[in-house]
């Protein structure tokens, strides 16, 4: 609090302030801080949501840094409310610490090793059990239980078994020690530590319960097979991304005797500790869950031929064909490049038709040895030039490819083997990464050859959508909203959510990308352009348009160039750990549960998200401010006496007023430099009328119905309040239903000078609020204020201008305050807003500048 006191002393001059006003000063500072934090939190939330659009690349550091900033601001907000309300809102701290803890937990656990049986057979696995069985194991389980393709028997040694193995041997601890004892500044030392670690793991003991589980599992496999098979043992990574980066390839051991299964398991674990992995763990710390893995165990298939099938030819044209590679013997040679494999390009329609085939001589093959292991042998001469696959094999393979593509919904990279009895087996299927045929050219801002109807506005969600224009003027218009329509409206409305699932795009005249509807548009991924100003004038009902919410253009008719881009965009990033984490984190931040301030549930105990806390604090800060005016300042405050319909309470902190009377002060008695300038502006405007008879204040003309009063739109809000000193003013202005705050410090010290302006809309209809905000932004922009807008909140600032420049702008701000107040009643169209902006700039800004 000492900072606030110091600041306060600076503002009030050298004279020690009275205790009451000091208290008041602190509360004002809290209020200002609260508003500032409120706006920052809302802006950070909008920023994080935008990152989920799939258009951005960001890392964990972004999430951590943004969350940290967000929580800091929220904490400042909570403290400011407590400062304002004499620590009456301590429960809000508890709510925030619970939310912070939940977010911290999400950020800390990139992945977990869930407790699970040590062994699971393929039948017990499916695609949802990746964390237990690893990617490969879960995939084999999925294929075996849900896709009609032949998958061998087999089981997975789970990630939980890996954890048990590490824990039993205290390996995490050993690894940590080893990592910290080596400097590892070059590849050699990384290599040495890697070897050292492999040795440690080789010497480790398999825990007895895992040993037993492996034996039982093998016996069960043998029973299923009706023989005692040798085994294929392969790593099945949990975080394929991380593991693949580290390992480059997955460890695989072929034709392993059952007696060597445990040792082979250790070899696979050891294979994880590559130089790349060690570099990572050295610098980030080792955590066992980062590298958790499963191991897949299958009977070794003594294949007569094997290979790989790409369910879409990656380079061929057309792509309605698969590419199949095949070699004699085991499949390793098909991928390792050891020999040149057969290649078949085969169509789906008709199924199995060979478009192209290359059958090079295949002189070598890999074969199983009877007692275990594999060996390279020459291919018998009569088979060297023969194709590995017959037509029936190709048809069978294509059926599998079709089934797997249908099931997984994307092109697949499939490993297959043909056993000695001619039976086909699918050994693995994973997502096929197809490089783009042509590089995607950054597309032009404007696609030529089409008529552009509209080229302005603010993008709320990027993307392209096309369809017939549906003009939504009122809520009833949403009832028959057609599937694929382009929603065009004057303003944004959260009610649009009812049709967002079938909306191709949204375009509005007014609205803010950080507003409530924009959040919904992002959630539903509807391309959206807001605040175009003219959409409802230029987009006619029924007209087919293409909305490019990338470059803010709306074209007449369909623009296939843009629409095809949209189709190609697969959102693979959404499946990455960084995206998933941001999504989870946002669940603790964005949803709003506190809706109705009058409900008993509007309470800190029900604040489950950051948004709830912000909503609550904002509501109660206002209430605290009213209390301040109602009880807090008796004896200190004086009223400003003027002819304007404006009730201003003033507290002089030192040198702000030339006080004669105890109760009232005339404008001539104002000594505060900034407030004098500001008030000159307020008073210079043509006020439409004197205070109406029998009416307490001008805001009563806004109170149209009893209902509005009942909804909390209290007419007493137009009591405004200003704190003054010779060089300072902090003016909280309630006029009608909007609230603004102008704070300024003006002196000969250039570096101390500043002006901040915060405007909160409210009252009136949404269109009118939007228009008001647009008008204010246009004007303050012209007088050089830096401004930001969130919903109908405007934050603006100017600093370090000479005193004369500051005062001139304060006078304009005073004029603007009166102007917007009076305009509330006449902002009935967008055109009128433009007219008033021009009028104000011409009358009040350009003239002053030219003087």
């Amino acid at each position: 609090m000492s900072y606030l006191r110091r600041t306060w002393q600076k503002l009030t001059g050298s004279a020690p302030a009275a205790p009451e006003s000091n208290d008041l000063g602190e509360r004002y500072a809290h209020f200002q801080r609260l508003l500032q934090a409120n706006n920052q939190v809302l802006a950070l939330m909008a920023d994080m949501e935008e990152k989920l659009s799939g258009e951005y690349l960001f890392d964990f550091e972004y999430i951590r840094a943004t969350v940290q900033q967000l929580l800091q601001e929220t904490a400042a907000l909570v403290e400011a409310l407590n400062g304002l309300g004499n620590q009456r809102y301590l429960e809000l701290r508890d709510a925030l610490s619970q939310i912070s803890a939940a977010i911290a937990a999400i950020l800390a656990s990139r992945r977990e090793i869930p407790p699970a049986p040590l062994i699971l057979f393929f039948e017990q696995l499916d695609a949802n059990k990746v964390e237990i069985g690893g990617g490969k194991g879960a995939n084999l389980g999925e294929m075996r239980s849900r896709v009609a393709v032949p998958v061998p028997n087999g089981f997975v040694i789970t990630s939980y078994a890996y954890k048990i193995f590490l824990d039993y041997n205290k390996l995490s601890q050993h690894i940590g020690e080893l990592l910290s004892s080596w400097s590892m500044n070059d590849l050699d030392s990384l290599g040495r530590v890697s070897e050292e670690l492999k040795k440690i793991i080789h010497d480790a003991q398999i825990p007895p319960e895992l040993e037993a589980a492996l034996q039982t599992a093998y016996e069960q496999l043998a029973a299923q097979e009706g023989r005692r098979p040798l085994l294929a043992v392969r790593s099945s990574a949990i975080g394929e991304d991380v593991t693949f980066t580290f390992a480059g390839q997955y460890a695989t051991y072929l034709n392993v005797p059952a007696t060597e299964l445990a040792d082979t398991y250790k070899k696979i674990i050891a294979s994880l500790f590559t130089a790349r992995a060690l570099y990572y763990y050295k610098n980030k710390g080792f955590r066992e869950e980062e590298m958790a893995m499963g191991v897949v165990v299958m009977p070794m298939i003594a294949a007569q031929a094997s290979g790989v099938l790409f369910s879409r030819h990656p380079e061929g044209e057309p792509r309605d064909a698969a590419l199949i590679n095949a070699v004699w013997g085991l499949g390793k040679y098909a991928v390792a490049g050891t020999i040149e494999p057969d290649q078949y390009v085969v169509t789906y329609q008709p199924l199995g038709k060979v478009l192209e085939q290359q059958i090079p001589p295949k002189k070598l093959m890999l074969q199983c040895l009877p007692a275990g292991g594999v060996t390279e042998v020459p291919v018998p001469e009569e088979r060297q030039n023969q194709p590995c696959l017959q037509e029936r094999h190709l048809i069978e393979l294509m059926k599998c490819a079709q089934a797997l593509e249908d099931h997984f919904g994307k092109p697949q990279d499939i490993e297959w083997a043909l056993d000695e009895d001619g039976q086909l087996w699918i050994l693995q299927s994973r997502l096929l990464k197809i490089p783009a045929k042509q590089p995607t050219q950054p597309r032009p801002r404007v696609v030529s050859g089409y008529h552009i109807l509209l080229d302005q506005g603010a993008v709320a969600f990027r993307g392209v959508g096309a369809g017939p224009v549906v003009l939504v003027r009122r809520e009833e218009d949403l009832k028959d909203f057609p599937h694929g329509g382009v929603l065009v409206a004057r303003h944004t409305s959260p009610n649009f959510v009812t049709v967002m699932h079938q909306t191709a795009a949204i375009v509005t005249d007014a609205g803010s990308p950080t507003g409530h509807m924009a959040l919904l548009a992002r959630e539903f991924r509807v391309p959206t352009i807001l605040n175009t100003g003219i959409a409802t004038q230029v987009l006619k009902p029924g007209m087919v348009v293409t909305v490019d919410a990338e470059y803010r253009n709306v074209y007449e008719g369909l623009v296939p160039e843009l629409l095809s881009v949209k189709e190609n965009e697969a959102d693979d990033l959404a499946d990455t750990p960084v995206f998933r984490t941001l999504k989870k984190v946002l669940q603790k931040i964005v949803p709003l549960n506190l809706l109705d301030p009058k409900s008993p549930a509007f309470h800190p105990a029900h604040c489950h998200t950051v948004h709830d806390i912000v909503r609550y604090a904002h509501e109660y800060s206002m209430r605290e401010m009213f209390q301040l005016r109602e009880h807090g300042v008796k004896g200190n405050a004086v009223l400003l006496e003027s002819d304007l319909p404006f009730k201003v309470h003033m507290v002089d902190l030192g040198g702000g007023l030339d006080r004669v009377s105890q109760q009232k002060v005339r404008p001539e008695q104002i000594r505060s430099l900034p407030f004098k300038a500001f008030w000159e502006g307020v008073a210079a405007m043509r006020w439409p009328q004197a205070k109406p008879q029998n009416v307490q204040s001008i805001s009563s003309v806004f109170v149209k119905t009893e209902e509005q009063i009942a909804q909390g739109e209290n007419p007493y809000r137009d009591e405004s309040y200003v704190l003054l000193s010779q060089n300072y003013m902090n003016f909280s202005i309630h006029l009608g239903y909007h609230f603004s705050n102008v704070e300024a410090y003006v002196s000969d010290q250039l570096n101390d000078n500043y002006l901040t302006f915060n405007f909160h809309g409210g009252g009136s209809t949404p269109e009118r609020r939007e228009r008001r905000v647009r008008l204010i932004e246009a004007i303050i922009d012209r007088i050089d204020l830096q401004h930001q807008r969130h919903g109908d909140i405007i934050e603006a600032r100017l600093a370090k201008y000479p005193a004369a420049e500051m005062l001139w702008r304060l006078t304009i701000m005073g004029k603007l305050t009166s102007y917007t107040k009076q305009l509330d009643m006449v902002l009935f169209s967008e055109g009128i807003v433009d007219w008033y902006i021009k009028d104000f700039l011409r009358e009040h800004v350009e003239r002053c500048r030219n003087r």
């Binding site: 990152k51 258009e55 951005y56 690349l57 960001f58 890392d59 964990f60 550091e61 972004y62 840094a65 590892m184 500044n185 070059d186 590849l187 990384l190 991304d241 991380v242 980066t245 580290f246 130089a275 790349r276 570099y279 990572y280 050295k282 610098n283 980030k284 990464k433 490089p435 783009a436 045929k437 042509q438 590089p439 995607t440 050219q441 950054p442 697969a570 693979d572 990033l573 990455t576 750990p577 960084v578």
Partner: protein, 147 residues
């Protein structure tokens, strides 16, 4: 620059100590272009990787332990000054990014960034390399023709 030259595939080495970033960059570049992507999370390997293969572009994170982006730039430039290096920096470290450019980086890009931003930067960097090489070739043939 003609269209054919523009679409000829390049080989890109990406260095970032965060595997997540590597995965995402690999994903979008593979998805949107025909360039080949090799990644490593271990900058100490860069020398070895450059020795083994010809690259048209190196993209590197700036802040990495032991060997940072500046070191990567030096390593690349010492082997082949014609390989452009694009540096990825965290928001708020513009000064070091500018320093990287002074030390020979082709350009920098600040995290978080839009997909299109990196794709545009890649194409520009590859164009630059082509131009530099063409220029050198021209100069050499001029010199030769003059004897």
């Amino acid at each position: 620059m003609n269209q054919a030259a523009k679409s000829s595939p390049g080989k890109i080495l990406i260095v970032d100590d965060e595997p997540d970033m590597l995965e995402m960059l690999d994903m979008i570049i593979t998805d949107k272009t025909n360039h080949r992507v090799i990644t490593t999370n271990n900058p100490l390997e860069v020398g070895e990787l450059l020795a083994k293969d010809n690259y048209n572009l190196v993209i590197t994170d700036l802040k990495m332990p032991v060997m940072d982006g500046m070191d990567v730039i030096a390593e690349v430039k010492s082997r082949d000054p014609d390989i452009p290096v694009v540096v990825i920096t965290a928001f708020g470290t513009i000064e070091s990014a500018e320093e990287a450019v002074r030390r020979g980086a082709y350009d920098f890009i600040t995290k978080p960034f839009r997909k299109e931003q990196i794709l545009v930067t890649i194409e520009r960097a590859l164009d630059w390399q082509r131009l530099v090489r063409e220029n050198r070739e021209l100069k050499r043939s001029m010199k030769n023709s003059r004897g």
